[in-house]
Each structure stands twice: as C-alpha cells, then as structure tokens.
Amino acid sequence: MKNNIRVERARARMSQQELAEKAGVIRQTIAAIEQGRFNPSTVLALKIACIFGLTVEQIFELEDSDWEK
C-alpha cells in the first residue's frame, strides 16, 4: 500500500513527532508507515487522514501487489 503522508506532512509543515502525537502513536510508527514497512489499522489511517483534513483514499492507495494472494 502506497501513501503520501510524507508529502502531506511537508505541505502542512508538520514533523513526524507532531503527527505521531496527534495520532496517538510513537514517531517510529509514522516513519514505518511512510516507508511502507507497516500498514496502519483502519482507525489509525482514518485519524491520519482526519489530521490532514483529507479522505483516506487521498492519502493511502492500493498497489497491484496488494491484490495478489
């Protein structure tokens, strides 16, 4: 799953730490999501989208490999 959290964060001039605090997770979790090393839960994805004032689809995007079993 791709995401553009880094872009949105830069647009909002927000650090990973600030985003993490607002979303109620630790900074490493935000870094892991940005790097694609960790897929967030629906709740966390919704929280992140809400923080940026966007929808989940505007931040997270499925890749072709996500459809493979």
Binding site: S15, G24, V25, I26, A31, E34, P40
Partner: protein, 159 residues
Amino acid sequence: MKTIKMLPHSWKIVGRVLLALCLLLFVSCFRAVVHDMFLVNSAQGYDSFGAGWASSLVVIFFSIGVVLLAFSQEYREDERIIHIRQQALARTVILYLFVLALNLVANLVLGRMLSMDSLVQVMLIKRTFLCVPAFILYYLLIFKLSLWSENKKLSRDEE
C-alpha cells in the same frame, strides 16, 4: 480501538528487581543451585535442603520476573509494537518447537529410550532451557531484538 490487555509499564521495574534478585541468588549459591537444578543426584555432597531452597527461589524469581517483563507494556505501546509482539510470539513458537525437536532427536541419537515419561521430562520438568519460563524468555529476547532492529532501521529516517 481494540488493544491487548497488558500490565502497566511500571511492572517492568518489579520484573527487573526480581531478575536481579534471581541473578544475585544464583551467583551467591552458584554451586549448590547448579548441583540441585542440573545434576542428577542432588543429594550427594551438598546440603540438599539449602540447595533446594536456593534453586526454588531462583526458579520462582526467574519465572515471575520474566513474565512481568514480557507482559508489561512498553513506555509507549502502540499498534506497531503490538504487531511486533505478535510476530515475535509466532517466531518463538517455531523456535521452541525446533529446539524441542532437536532435543528429542539428540536424546534418540544418544540412545536414550523415548518413553512418555522422558518426553514429559524433556518438555516440562527437568530441562530448564525447555520449560515454560524459558519459552517466555525466548519470546522476550526475540521481541526486544525485533523492536531494536526495527527502530534502528527507522532511526535512519529521522527528520
């Protein structure tokens, strides 16, 4: 959001104190404890009451300490850490079964009879490195190692 119910972070301190006590006791009564825990005939050459008492305390402190350390939350526990915990638990089960199988094969190769009694002994009682607290210790080590390596990879991504 659903989370796994765990002990508060402060319980780690109690766990560390118990493990420190266990280590102190193990070092101070090393010969007696090793003799009582690992050697076949514990009655020979040592005060069996003292050795039994010391080794029992070592096992109790170790068991409780490891459980408290393994099942209390990290300073800040979030869903990624819970995910790492679950992965560590799965890896521990595989490792534990591998160690168990290796031990059974070693027993067969060494020519010991594989009876139900010896199987139970191997799995639960006599072999300290295969008992339940040891399983929790494997889990704790694998979890801490995974968490450390994940955080190390992510620390390169600091802003």
